[in-house]
Structure formats: C-alpha cells, structure tokens
C-alpha cells in the first residue's frame, strides 16, 4: 500500500445481463510472476555488531530485530529459564529509566516492543512508525545496552512468571508439549527443558544469574541487528553507530549441546486430566538439525504428511473421521536435532483409534512411494507460497532472522525453488525411513486416564506409564 495516493473511485456499474458461465473447467494460472526478494544490505559497526538492512518504502514503518546467538540451550544446569527471564528483564530498568518509564516511552509513540528466547537464540524486537525512529532506536538501544536488573522489579516479574507457569498446568496443549520434550531428550538435556523454565527453576533464578547471562552473551560480536522498512541503509548505519557504538565486545563462551539420546519408545505416557472432553496427543521422536542435508527432503515430506490442511494426517483424522478440529506434524530444525512431532486434540472416546491411525500414516509414508501428483502439490505449495513470507516488515525480519541464526547465505531464498524442485518421491521415502520411526516413537497423551488407558493398553504399543505434568511417574 502506498500512502500518498488520494483518489477514491465510487462507480456504480451497470453491466449487461450475462450468459450462464461454464464453471466445469477449472481456470488455468497466468504466467508465474517475478518474485522480487528483498535486497539485503550488510554493514559492520566498529564494535563488530553485524547489521542487516532492507529498504522497504511501501509503508511508513520500521522493524528492528536484535538476534543474540545464544538461547535457552545455554541456561545454567538446573536453572532452565535463565535466557528467557533475562530477555524479559532487560526492559525492567536501565541506568537512567525505571520500568514504568520504559513502558510509557514505547507505548506513547505506539511502538511495539517485545523480547523472548528460544533454544537457539534470544530476540529483542521493535515495530515503530518511521516518524518516531530516532526516539524508538534510543529506547531500544537503552534496554539492550544498559539494563540493571533491579531486585525490586525482579521480585515482581519472578512471581508473575512462576504464577503463569502454574497456570500452564491448565493448558493441555502446554502440558503435552512439555512432557513430550522431556521424554524425548531426558533429564539434563537442554532441549528437554522448557525454554520458560519451571516453577522450581524460576524460583531459584537470581538477578545475578540474569546479569551473568547478559554479560556473557549480550555482546555485539554475538549479535546481529536486523532493520527493515522505511529507512535508508546508509543513514541507519550512522544512527546505529551513535547508539550502539559503546557496546563492548568480549569473547563469548561456546554453547555445547550434548548428543541426542536414543529413541524414547515405544512407550505411551498419559497425563491425567479427569473428565477431559478431549485428549491432546503428541507422537514423535528426535529429528534433524537445521544444517542437515535432508532439510529440503523433510520439508516436502512434512508438507504432505501433516504440514497442511490437505495433508495425510489432517485429512484422515479430521475430514474423513471427524475425530479432531485439526491435526498436524512438524519438524523443529534447530542448531542441533530438534523434535519431529504429530499433534492433535481428539475426542476422548477415539483416543486409541487416533493414535493407531496416526501411526499407520507414519508407517505408510515409509513403505509406499508418494504418488507423483501428491508430491507435486506439496512442492508447489512450498515454492509458490514463498512470496507470502515477505509481505510485511515483520515477515521480512523473521526471514532474515532464520538466515542469521542458522548461518545461511543471503541467496538462500533464491535457491529454495531449485532445492525443493529436485526432491523426488524416493527422497521423501528415504527421509521418512531415516527420521520417522513409528515402532519406537514416544506417545504423550493428556486426557482422562480412566477413559483412555484401557483401550490404549489393547494397542500393545510398548508400555503405558501414567505421569504427572512434569513427566514423573505417578504411583
């Protein structure tokens, strides 16, 4: 959309009566449009901070995104949640501004600020109108460079996070996801711990922990700043140099992630939710990392298995059986191998049938070659869907974040087409055989034990263990 245009047409059309149209023939597409991928401009500030910029003038908005190359995988042992809480706390007080002042500064100019972490990184984002850019940048850099982690604010934030973790027990989706990760990776592996921590761990985290994490990892040489929108790259660099120049670089400790443990299953874990109207299930195993050569093969594989509405698993469980409102599968690609998971909420009485049907689909994708038409639909969906990922400044910043976090080249997106194009039915089958093992998967179910346990026992899928919401066996 371009703003300056000021013309509004109101035309009350009079059209002639039309003949009956023949809709029996599906219209064919026109010529494929040229996809203009955004042009990335790079710069490096004197302190080593890497800056990636995209000039995008259509709307008077700018997105800033700082990517720290360290996330929850670097949480100190026994203290999951430190990366996440650190991100939450940088805006709770700086050398010159108090928590309420910081919030008011952002809110008053309508800037949307956020900070979070995942396994691989920590992220601080800001969306602002271009007219407020200088102010917004000053506020943004202040929380990044000068946080003081005041104890008084932390006492409140800590309580609030602990309470929200308590509330998560109410959410079957959340409980299922947490228990699933724990069962896959086991005690002590960072990918088995929740990014947001646990009630116990967050209670044990101190402001010293946050300061230590911040001092170690929030460093210009461990970060990339992404700026997208109504800006001139050269002018931005000058402004960035002014506000980020004082940020000191320092050697950053490497994060080592232990190797993935062996398959967790076959085993079914049930977390009891008495009288639940639905069972939430997770079925899967540890998959692959982002750098894997099998990335594109699994991308196509997942698209047709459970990655879209028409994919096999959703089609079977929802459109054929009516067991669920939606079922899906996903690979999480991380710096090290993340999980592959199928998830759905299903009516309690069909919990066992849903598990069987899902396992059947996982077996079928391994044993039968995918029909050519199904394969081409999945590939087209990925290839032709590409432009939709670049519509807004936030979309573009998100795409660049993936490049930055996983060290992918600038022309990564221009090569997606050829990389997806060359995936064959045999490739999909091989990838399925390599990453999908329905005989040794972990199954996690959050539902009514009294209704689902006996039918699940009849499946004969490994042992059945009733666990609590932390994955600990219940006597």
């Amino acid at each position: 959309m371009r703003l300056p245009l000021v013309c509004v047409f109101l035309i009350l059309a009079v059209t002639s009566a039309l003949a009956q149209v023949d809709r029996s023939k599906k219209p064919e597409p026109g010529p494929t449009p040229q996809v203009k991928l955004p042009k990335l401009e790079h710069a490096q500030l004197t302190n080593g901070l890497h800056v990636v910029m995209v000039e995008q003038r259509q709307m008077p908005v700018i997105q800033l995104q700082l990517v720290i190359q360290t996330g929850s995988a670097a949480d100190p042992k026994g203290k999951p949640g430190v990366a996440y809480v650190t991100a939450q706390m940088i805006s709770e007080g700086t050398k010159t501004r108090l928590s309420l002042q910081i919030a008011d500064d952002f809110d008053f100019i309508g800037a949307q600020y956020g900070a979070s972490a995942n396994e691989d990184g920590s992220f601080v984002t800001l969306l602002t109108l271009a007219e407020h850019f200088t102010k917004a940048l000053a506020f943004f850099s202040d929380v990044l460079l000068n946080p003081v982690f005041p104890q008084s604010e932390y006492a409140r934030v800590q309580k609030r996070i602990v309470t929200s973790l308590l509330q998560n027990k109410d959410q079957p989706e959340f409980v299922a996801g947490n228990v699933f990760s724990k069962m896959l990776y086991g005690e002590g592996h960072p990918y088995g711990e929740p990014v947001g921590g646990t009630e116990t761990s967050v209670k044990s985290i101190t402001t010293d922990d946050l300061r230590t994490f911040y001092d170690a990892y929030y460093r210009p040489n461990n970060a990339t700043l992404i700026a997208v929108g109504d800006i001139h790259p050269k002018e931005v660099v000058a402004e960035l140099e002014k506000v980020f120049g004082a940020w000191e670089k320092r050697d950053v400790p490497a994060t080592t992630i232990p190797p993935s443990p062996a398959a967790a299953g076959p085993v079914i874990y049930i977390v009891d939710k008495p009288k639940a109207a639905q069972s939430q299930f997770r079925i899967g195993e540890i998959g692959l990392n982002r750098a894997s050569d099998d990335y594109y093969r699994t991308l196509v594989l997942n698209q047709l298995l459970g990655g879209s509405f028409n994919s096999r698993i959703n089609w079977k469980l929802r459109e054929e059986k009516g067991y669920t409102y939606g079922a899906r599968s996903a690979f999480s690609y991380r710096k090290e191998a993340g999980p592959f998971v199928v998830s759905a909420g299903v009516k309690t009485s069909v919990t066992d049938s849903s598990v069987i049907l899902t396992l059947d689909e996982l077996k079928r994708i391994r044993t039968e070659l995918v029909p050519e038409k199904e394969l081409s639909v999945a590939k087209s969906a990925i290839i032709r869907g590409l432009p939709r990922g670049f519509e807004t400044v936030s979309d573009i910043a998100r795409q660049i974040t993936a490049l930055v976090l996983y060290n992918l080249p600038d022309d990564y997106y221009s090569h997606i087409v050829e990389n997806v194009e060359k995936v064959t039915a045999e490739d999909v089958q091989k990838a399925a055989q390599r990453y999908i093992h329905p005989d040794t998967d972990a199954v996690v179910i959050v539902g009514d034990v009294s209704a689902v346990k006996a039918p699940l026992e009849k499946l004969g899928y490994g042992k059945i263990v009733v666990v609590d919401d932390q994955g600990k066996p219940v006597k």
Binding site: P33, G110, E320
Partner: protein, 449 residues
C-alpha cells in the same frame, strides 16, 4: 466479538484508527446485487480475495444455535464443480492460504494467492456461491458436525475458563436476544442440524445480493472486473437480507454468577451492556478500555498487577457487534487472593476515572497505540484484519468501504471529558453481570462472598 473459525488460527486485534490514510479503491454493484470492491497494491505479487456474507449467528433460529458457523464449514466441502478436498488442494498447490470465520453478524471467507492464481480463487468462491447445494449430502454434514463439536471441545470445554463467555452471554442478553448464545452453539443444537437446514440457510442468506466481495493486491481492476462478471455475474439468487434492528439490553441490578472449572486460579469477569459497533460512544469505550488496561501504565494494570500484585493479568475491552455491545473487565487473581478483593480494586479504579477523569497524556498514549496498530495491520492486503477485510467490514456494516478516515476521526475526536462521561454512563457499579470462575471446590474465592 467471539469468532469461530474453519480451522484454528491466531487473530491479532485490529484497532479501528489510522493517520491520514487514503486507500485507493473502486466499488461496483453488479445487477445481481453483488457488491465488488477493488484495491490495488503492487508491492508483492499476491492477490487477496475476501468475501463477506451478511449473516452470522444472530440469524439463527431457536434450537439451531451454532448453525451459521457449522454452515461456514460446509462451504469448504465442495460444490458442483469442486470435489470434497479440492478447494484446499487447489489453493495449496497454488501456494495460497485461506480461512473463514463466523461472528454474530457476518461470515467471511478469504484466499491469498500468487497473483496469477487469482482467477482460481474467484472460480472457487463463485462455484460455491452458485452451486453449493448440488453436491451437499448427509455424510459431509455429519463429518463437519463432528469437526465442529471437536472445535467446541477444544476451544471451550477443554480450555481453562472456556465456558465463561457462554455464561456471560446467556446472562447479559435475554433469551430472545440473538446474542444470548455464542457462534459455536450448543452440542444439542449442533446434533439437531439437518440437511434441510443447510439448504434453507443457503437459499436465504448466501445470495449474490447479500454478499460483498473485495479483491486486492497485485491486480488490474479492469481485468478483474471482467473476471468477476464472468464468474459471479450470472449468479442471481437473492436480495440483501434486511438488517437486524439494534437491540441494546438493559440490566436492572447486579447478577452474580459462579462457575467451577479445572483451573489453578480464580478469574473474574465483569460485563456491562454498552453500545453496538460504530455507534456513538463505541470508539470512546474502546479508548477507555485502553486507558484501563493497555500497557504497564494503564490504570488497572498498574494498580492490580504492578503495584498491589493481587492480579496476574487484567484486560478491559469494548466488545461491540452489529446490534449490541458489551464492555468487559477480566482479571485473574494471584494465589491467595479472592475475586472479591479484585472487584473492589477494579471498582475503586473505575470510580477514580468517573470522578477525576484521565490525564491528557493517558488519552494521547492510547490514541497513539490505537493509531499505530491500525497502520501496522494495513501492511497485509488479505487475511483477517488485512485491507480487503477492512474494506468489506466498512462496506457491509456502513455501506462505505472507504470509511478509514472517518473511522480515524471517531477516535481522534474523543476528549478526556467524553471518556469520563462514558465511564460514568456505561460502567455503573449497580447494574452489571459479575461472573466468578473458581477452581473446583474453591467457592470461597468468588466475588461477592
């Protein structure tokens, strides 16, 4: 506004305000009554189709609650020239995305596709508008009835506090009022829906004259106009349905309600009847909700969550729809606190606004937040809340697709005095619904005890 969807999705709040935005569009009305709006945006090679039917759950008959939304699901089950599943498959193959949603007053459907597949999307929309019933059968209905029941289980019954909204609607609106029930409907009524109901609903409401089609993005309006005439021009299956009359309920006293749920913490819901969408004071109440709960410095957040730390969260909102609206304040108590304490703290803060008003900076802050989030949302040409959806919203409810600037004015014109008067008029402490949702067996935590 509570919405039910074809499949689950994240919907971002769309504020209703902009700076001096001028959206270039064309509006046509075909002889069959179909209203068509074109909007050009050539930044990304995408085309967005957005189709509104002016019907929602407010049109449902007694014993058939949830039907408008169930019907929305039936629209994806194929039509004369589209097999079951083909609608999704063709759009997936095109690299497109789609969804639909039902509210009390309208049902919308949209597709976003690479621009060279625009004709495909128009063909799909026109085929189901023209011929849905020719391929409708009991099996499809039974399947989607099961899916929608699972949607109800997932988003209401198995969700913490999930039945609160239904309880509030049933107590805020009298049984004859069409907002007395939610769009998702009841299990019993979903079970009762018949194939005959599907046919009658389609013939009454899914007509060319009762629909508004917005097409936007990387398009050539003259060419698209020809395509629209080709695919929709011959569908002449009915007129617009007369709009429903406004019906703003009044409460005569306080109603205390209680639900027990599988939750850790008690949550308080206070609801007042307010005004419909776009009515006088609607924007004022929107801004009032921001003053009360948007950001750390808002009145309720600062007092309840930040300073006193008796609440985990607090939200105020003006929920306005076609024929009525409600203003709500929702807060969750932290462990050890009761909803009576929360009610008292909320009442004190509202009373302060009524007595002393708000500062110019508070009002300015909320206006700026509203304005900017509206501008951010306009980066999307399609989908929920994108430009094409807004054009249809303004067109269907106000007859003016280009209402953007007038919408802006509704907000910029609000004064601190107006806001204070609205708080006094619409948030009386003695006429409202107060719902407590408490953990099982913890009735002592409820409000009013």
């Amino acid at each position: 506004m509570k919405l039910s969807f074809l499949f689950f999705t994240l919907i971002l709040g769309v504020a209703q305000m902009s700076a001096q935005l001028d959206i270039k569009y064309e509006k046509h009305t075909l002889p069959n009554g179909l209203q068509v709006i074109f909007y050009e945006d050539h930044d990304v090679p995408l085309a967005a189709v957005n189709l509104w039917y002016h019907v929602g759950s407010a049109r449902e008959k007694p014993g058939r609650t949830g039907f408008a939304h169930l019907f929305e699901h039936m629209m994806f089950q194929g039509s004369q020239d589209v097999q079951k599943g083909e609608h999704f498959r063709l759009l997936e193959e095109a690299g497109g995305t789609l969804n639909g949603s039902t509210s009390t007053d309208r049902t919308n459907y949209w597709e976003v596709v690479p621009e060279n597949f625009l004709e495909l999307a128009l063909w799909l929309e026109s085929d189901r508008m023209a011929t849905l019933l020719t391929s409708m059968d009991q099996e499809k209905l039974d399947n989607q009835r099961d899916v929608v029941k699972n949607e109800r289980r997932q988003n209401y019954e198995n969700r913490p506090y999930g039945l609160a909204w239904e309880t509030i609607a049933a107590n805020l609106y009298p049984p004859e009022h069409p907002y007395h029930w939610l769009t998702i409907g009841s299990m019993a009524d979903l079970s009762a829906a018949s194939l005959e109901d599907v046919k009658e609903f389609f013939r009454t409401y899914y007509t060319s004259g009762n629909a508004s089609l917005a097409v936007g993005g990387d398009i050539n309006p003259a060419e698209v106009k020809k395509l629209v005439e080709k695919y929709f021009g011959s569908i002449d299956n009915g007129k617009a349905v007369p709009p429903m009359k406004k019906w703003e309920p009044a409460l005569t006293g306080q109603k205390y309600l209680l639900l027990e749920d599988q939750v850790q913490l008690p949550r308080l819901y206070i609801a007042w009847p307010s005004v419909p969408e776009f009515a006088k004071d609607d924007a004022t109440l929107d801004l009032l909700s921001g003053v009360l709960s948007a950001g750390k410095n808002s009145r309720l957040y600062k007092t309840l969550v930040y300073d006193r730390q008796i609440a985990q969260d607090v939200t105020a909102m003006q929920n306005s729809s076609g024929i009525a609206g409600s203003f709500m304040i929702i807060a969750t108590a932290v462990p050890g606190r009761t909803l009576t304490e929360l009610t008292k703290a909320i009442d004190e803060e509202v009373a302060k606004v009524v007595k002393d008003g708000v500062t110019p900076r508070e009002l300015e802050r909320v206006k700026n937040q509203t304005k900017t989030s509206f501008i951010y949302s306009l980066q999307h040409v399609g989908g929920f809340g994108g430009v094409t959806d807004q054009l249809n919203r303004y067109n269907v409810f106000l007859g003016d697709p280009g209402y953007f600037n007038k919408d802006l004015a509704r907000y910029t014109e609000v004064t601190a005095t107006g806001l204070q008067q609205a708080a006094k008029k619409y948030l009386p402490a003695d006429r409202r619904v107060i719902l407590s949702v408490v953990p099982k067996g913890k009735q002592d935590l409820k409000a009013g005890s």
